[in-house]
């Protein structure tokens, strides 16, 4: 991925954010105290500064020599985020925290190290069970957090 192109995309998104943030700020009114330094004062200033800095950075990226942004193991990163998201959904909808956590741990370990020899399977199972057991003993029993 081109560093400069990625920068331009991010700056465009941040300009939209600055506009939305600044626009929203104009709706903040302190009914008790109508002076110039109300709740919108600081956000409006930030929106303006952000927009200016984004323009400067975008101009810099147009004149600067380009390089490549390395994003190694992107499928693994995407899978990690997706599996974590699925775990959070399962936990929120079914309340199966410990089971979900065990499956998340095991899935991630096998995802990162896809070796399926009996020894590797036993080791990975032991790691996942140990982490869940540790979580139950420390957080569930000792600190009494209800997951």
């Amino acid at each position: 991925m081109s560093y400069n192109k990625a920068t331009l995309v991010v700056m465009a998104l941040l300009l939209v954010l600055a506009a939305a943030y600044g626009w929203e700020a104009t709706s903040f009114h302190d009914m008790r105290n109508r002076n110039s330094v109300g709740p919108s004062y600081f956000p409006v200033a930030l929106a303006v500064i952000l927009a200016l800095l984004c323009i400067v950075s975008a101009v810099q990226s147009l004149v600067r020599a380009d390089t490549r942004v390395e994003l190694p193991n992107m499928p693994l990163i995407a899978a990690t985020v997706a599996l974590t998201g699925v775990f959070l959904i399962v936990w929120a909808m079914l309340g199966a925290f410990y089971l979900g956590g065990f499956i998340l741990m095991l899935s991630l370990i096998f995802l990162y190290d896809p070796v399926f020899t009996p020894r590797a399977i036993l080791r990975n199972l032991a790691v996942a069970i140990s982490v869940i057991l540790f979580t139950y003993l420390l957080f569930g029993l000792l600190i009494q957090i209800r997951f």
């Binding site: 941040l14 800095l53 990163i77 990690t80 959070l88 370990i109």
Partner: protein, 506 residues
């Protein structure tokens, strides 16, 4: 309250001792693992401070901060991979000594220098905090606003290769800090109709997202199944008095430099370690042996990065302004307990403040004792491949976020911030600058608005008040220094590009 009026028995309460021991253990463990530094150690412990007493919780974080700085040297020395950025300077002589003679001896130099540096930094904090707080008491909202801005500019100038993107990170952090009900007017801002955001973004969720989740995704992007091999033999950290004397000068240099640099916003342990290494080499009788296993090359950076801890806590506690991401997270622990650091804390919470000061010294002793006992075990932990480490740290980080408020919403916030900052980090946006701005945002906004309300909207008070003017001059100097550095770097890059580029026709 004078510094010796403190009730020392209260420091030895079980909760405080447990906090110090847990913090030290976690700090050593996380610090020793390559890629995870002091900030991650403090972030992972922060959620558990909710259920603890204020002193015990802050001591736990301070102990983790102190221990992680030493822990980073374990992987530097044994594997040749710095556990923390601050331990990179230790690698040069530490790893060389480990390969040439004994890793245990290199670790012993590191542990003793870290302990001395930690104690020195703790004493600097103890003796300088009261005089500094007296000066701070004369300051008011305009000065607090400017000190906050000074901290942000310093961090923005030093924490990334791209100054403009660092400044954008600062603005984004300040914007994130405006979410929730405005303290002055009680107007809800940017809560998107979500009641979970009325109190603002959960600090723990944002911190864990940016420092733990983003770091975990970075680790996934690296080689996951690399198995480090360490030898458990030769890891005894024994050291003789004569050997200690041989590095006394380098340890002294590191301790003084570390404490001074720690006080300056944005510099941190990494800068102090390299400065001290360089100074120790220049003033050594045998500079040519640096890089080949000279013990002074271990003692100087290690004493410096631990002395930085005490120095960095000085502006946090006396002014209420953190100068780094690690101290910003510790400020978070204060805020969780409804305590605002600053000059008035010495009269409002004297037991807490002096408890922290003496607790830091105790935590340094604990680091020495636990380090002496468990360094071989921590060296063994380094053999854990990332394929196991990453899921474990990710799972524990998620639990930590949930433990803070018991809200699923915060977990999504942590995941979102982690993913966003993973990508922004690749484009040279600065996570430390964002975090510092996020934590300082309420202080900066409230100080600015109160100052402007008092002056009827006039900005002249920043120039007419002597303290404000002095801070403004420092801000201009720091900005000038940052801009000069950028111009120099750009010129050097252009020259390098011109040299590397073939001429037309070639």
């Amino acid at each position: 309250m004078a510094i010796f009026d403190f009730d020392f028995l209260s420091l030895f309460q079980l909760s405080n001792l447990v906090g110090i021991l847990v913090g030290t253990f976690v700090g050593l463990l996380i610090g020793a693992l390559p890629g995870l530094g002091a900030t991650v150690a403090i972030v992972l412990l922060l959620p558990f401070t909710y259920g603890m007493e204020p002193l015990a919780s802050i001591l736990m974080l301070v102990a983790a901060y102190q221990a992680a700085e030493y822990g980073g040297s374990i992987s530097s020395i044994i594997l040749g991979i710095p556990g923390t950025p601050a331990a990179a300077a230790t690698l040069l002589d530490g790893n060389a000594m480990a390969k040439a003679s004994s890793p245990g001896k290199a670790l012993a130099y590191s542990l003793s220098a870290s302990t001395f540096g930690g104690l020195f930094g703790g004493l600097v904090l103890l003796f300088l905090s009261v005089p500094l707080s007296v000066i701070a008491l004369r300051m008011s909202d305009p000065e607090y606003f400017l000190i906050g801005i000074l901290g942000l500019i310093a961090v923005a100038g030093l924490s990334s290769n791209d100054l403009v993107k660092s400044m954008i990170s600062v603005v984004l952090g300040l914007m994130a800090g405006t979410v929730g009900i405005d303290v002055i007017s009680s107007v809800p801002r940017y809560f998107l109709g979500l009641p979970e955001l009325l109190d603002g973004l959960n600090m723990v969720a944002v911190l864990v997202g940016i420092f733990a989740v983003a770091e975990i995704l970075n680790m996934v992007g690296q080689e996951l199944n690399k198995v480090y091999v360490t030898d458990r033999r030769g890891l005894s950290t024994r050291i003789s008095l004569a050997e200690l004397r041989s590095v006394a000068r380098a340890t002294g240099i590191g301790s003084v430099m570390g404490s001074v640099i720690g006080i300056l916003p944005g510099m941190g342990a990494g800068a102090s370690a390299w400065f001290s290494y360089s100074l120790a080499r220049r003033s050594s009788a045998r500079p040519e042996t640096f890089g080949t296993g000279n013990p002074e090359g271990i003692a100087a950076p290690e004493s410096a990065n631990n002395a930085t801890v005490g120095g960095a806590l000085l502006p946090l506690i006396t002014l209420g302004i953190p100068g780094s991401a690690s101290t910003a997270i510790i400020l978070g622990a204060f805020i969780i307990h409804g305590i605002q650091p600053g000059p008035s804390i010495f009269s409002n919470e004297p037991q807490l403040v002096f408890g922290i000061f003496y607790g830091l010294l105790l935590a340094t002793v604990a680091m020495f004792a636990i380090g002496k006992l468990l360094t071989p075990a921590f060296a063994r932990v380094l053999t854990t491949p990332n394929s196991i480490l990453v899921p474990t740290v990710l799972f524990l980080a998620l639990i930590g976020v949930y433990a803070s408020h018991g809200l699923m919403f915060d977990l999504w916030v942590a995941l979102l911030f982690g993913v966003v900052f993973y990508f922004l980090g690749k484009l040279d946006f600065s996570a430390p600058a964002f975090i510092l701005a996020f934590v300082l945002s309420p202080i900066i906004e409230e100080s600015l608005r109160r100052a402007l309300l008092i002056s009827n909207g006039s900005y002249m008070m920043f120039l007419t008040r002597s303290y404000s003017l002095a801070i403004l001059i420092v801000i201009v100097a720091v900005m000038g220094f940052s801009i000069r550095s950028v111009i120099r770097r750009t010129r050097a890059e252009r020259r390098a590009a011109a040299v590397g580029q073939p001429k037309a026709g070639e």
